[in-house]
Amino acid sequence: MTHELRFESPSFVKRLKGMLGVDFYRLFHTPMYYIFLAIAAIIPAMILGTMGMENPQTGVAAAPLYTNVWHIIAAQKPLYVVSDIAEYANMNMVFIFGGIMVSIFIGHDYKSGYVKQLFTTHAKKIDYMLSKTLACAFAMACMCITYMLGAVSAGLLTGISFEVNVGSLLCALLGKIIMSLGWASLYTFLNIIFRRYFGVSIASSFFFGTGILIIGAAAILGNSSVLNIFLYGSSVYACLTSNLLTVAVCALVSVAWAVIYTLGGTLILSKCDVY
């Protein structure tokens, strides 16, 4: 190769394309991604498959947690105050596993030192934030889909009711998938803050992913729709009574938080040492 001293600045699109190329290549070539997809499918299937089983000591069957398959995908109505596990344990759980996956994904960038390769070349800090957010949002959206497939398969095997308003179900599913973007940006941001502490970044992602802060706030404020402005609030809002407005709210909240967290993460990376 001939060596010329010519310097052409790659455009933002070209830079982002390169970075996305790296992240998606890595995502599809890492077993972790497929393991998390499988976990997302197994969990609802396991819950549906084991509920109502007989207690071997008493011989009495426990009351089933769900009477309808779609209840494990989304709650019947938006309930921010959680009173029983069936209201809590639905597709929103994907955002907890997703947080762990994002932490491992980004943590490896720092642990391996690969981040040095990225930032030595033309990559800007915002390219990194955007690319990680988009790749992880895609991974979490895929986890939502495998979660649904797992729930449907288990529902078919256990013979639970599939009765639902299809429009509302689609809006709820779409809303939750759209929320992946906001959640991915939060986890990317948390992992940038705790980039030197792998364990802390996983713990923080898990903590925020559970939505415990919003559940706590709801216990004080009541079941207020104001909570929809938060990621967990909007994720709960995407329920089986959803409509197009729900999808719009989810999109707005998800994009708004993604912008905030991406800019926040970019600022931190620009002002602080990379590692």
Binding site: G18, V22, Y25, R26, T30, F119, T120, D273
Partner: protein, 300 residues
């Protein structure tokens, strides 16, 4: 135009300057040996140039442009501390990711090219974690070489390598500069190895550049000395010291500094009844020059 031009660069950690108003000039096409003791600020300087650390003050220009300009950054390759590869991925996969990041038009062709340069064609499918230290260093250089870099920054690339590994690495570096025209900034503790390839040197101490020179200038500045052996070294040393001044006993030899003609020494020793069994004219190397320079600085 210089490949690297640094003015008043500063960086501190917990109130202590790691790089203290550093100035540095690396000409285009040079192999610049960056020398300094542990903690002198070599790695910090390199990380600042690579954009891994945020400087507190000063200016870094690469090929006349601001060092953050993506146009110039895209042509910088680095091996800082480690290769920066994913241990669970193969050599090829790691290179492929970097090729994607750089948006290379023919990634496979380019990967083959750099693997050939670092003599790793046979090991493309090997998992990075299974590579030896020498192989990992070479993969790090291959990563840095992707995308036709104009500037390579290598932090201690030969440390920990065995003799053969060092020879291979030296040949690779010479190949890169002579055939691909890269400017190379290389830091190392192994001054003997550095001396074999460097065209320019920069000596850093406590975060400050204390000297920059070309290899030709080092040659001019390096003191000449005559080393010799006699039967009675102590007596001969006293005799020589009286006439020539700077005489030291090192590694079993007497060294008489700043004397160009060995004949005058032999004649003087014979006149004083000392036969010379071995004699050789020398010039101090980079390592000795560095040690002498450091001890002068400490004295000052």
């Amino acid at each position: 135009m210089n490949a690297i031009e640094i003015r008043n660069l500063s960086k501190s950690f917990r109130g202590m300057y790691a790089v203290d108003h550093l100035n540095m000039t690396v000409p285009v096409g040079a192999i610049y040996g960056f020398i300094g003791e542990n903690g002198s600020g070599k790695s910090t300087t390199e990380k600042l140039i690579c954009g891994h650390l945020v400087p507190e003050g000063g200016e870094i220009r690469l090929f006349g442009r601001d060092y953050t300009d993506p146009g110039v950054r895209v042509r910088v390759g680095a091996l800082i501390e480690n290769a920066g590869c994913f241990p669970g991925s193969s050599v090829y996969q790691n290179l492929r990711m970097q090729a994607l990041n750089l948006n290379l038009a023919n990634p496979d062709e380019e990967i083959r090219r750099v693997l050939k340069i670092v003599r790793m064609e046979e090991h493309a499918q090997l998992k990075f974690r299974k590579c030896s230290l020498g192989m990992k260093q070479r993969i790090g250089i291959a990563m840095a070489l992707l995308g036709d870099p104009a500037l390579l920054i290598l932090d201690e690339p030969i440390n920990g390598l065995d003799t053969d590994g060092m020879r291979i690495m030296r040949e690779i570096l010479v190949d890169i500069t002579s055939n691909y025209g890269c400017t190379v900034l290389i830091s190392s503790h192994l001054l003997g190895e550095l001396e074999k390839i460097a065209t320019h040197y920069g000596i850093i101490r406590q975060g400050r550049m204390i000297m920059e020179m070309s290899a030709a200038e080092l040659e001019g500045r390096a003191r000449v000395f005559v080393s010799l052996k006699t039967k009675d070294m102590a007596a001969a040393k006293a005799v020589l010291k009286a006439k020539f001044g700077d005489v030291r006993e090192e590694e079993g030899y007497l060294r008489v500094y700043d004397v160009e003609e060995p004949e005058t020494i032999v004649e003087h020793l014979l006149q004083n009844g000392h036969a010379v069994s071995e004699i050789r004219r020398n010039k101090i190397g980079l390592e000795e020059y560095y040690i002498e320079l450091m001890s002068r600085k400490e004295d000052a």
